[in-house]
């Protein structure tokens, strides 16, 4: 069972809101290859796992990610973005919105 603690897992203090970056982060959270999907995979893999220690670890890491996703960080990202989640079709064009430094950072990644 999943439960919620009314606190951040890690302190957050965004000094320079960046809507373009926020959209990338949202895709990383909920997109087709995002953290939410990864969390569900961990939680399903544990049912077939023959080792208790691994079952426990899959439970723990599959639990941490939804906590991050459903925690205050996510609505905060939504607010920074100010647009809502427009879906992954926007991702290929994101480099047009990002500053040059960010484009170098993502060069060679799947955010092209």
């Amino acid at each position: 069972m999943w439960s919620y603690d009314k606190k951040l897992q890690y302190p957050i203090d965004i000094k320079n809101p960046n809507p373009a970056m926020a959209k990338i982060i949202m895709t990383q959270l909920g997109g087709p290859d995002g953290e939410s999907g990864a969390a569900m995979r961990y939680l399903h893999q544990r049912y077939a796992c023959p080792y208790d220690r691994v079952t426990g670890t899959l439970t723990d890491i599959g639990t941490d990610v939804p906590k991050l996703h459903k925690g205050p960080e996510f609505p905060f990202i939504m607010r920074v973005c100010g647009l809502g989640f427009l879906g992954d079709t926007d991702v290929p064009k994101l480099h047009l919105l990002l500053p040059a430094r960010a484009n170098r950072h993502f060069a060679g990644s799947r955010f092209r």
């Binding site: 069972m1 208790d52 220690r53 079952t55 426990g56």
Partner: protein
Amino acid sequence: MNEREVLLKRVQVCDFALNDTALYLNTHPDDQNALAFYKKYSAMRADAAKAFVDKYGPLTHMDHDGGDTWKWVDGPWPWQQQEEV
């Protein structure tokens, strides 16, 4: 039901009552009857959880007993029970 199932059922019953009452209290935060109900089941839940954890191991990793082994990863897991609980 064996003893483990009985003790776990108490925790489950209390959690269900607390969960539903919490939803009600979200929109009725000053309902004294609901607050008293929540308080009563909250205490019952604490007792039930302690009785279960002392005998059958942690419900969350925060229930670590301070002993020399980490029991959180020990089976059986909830979906490995033979009987419906």
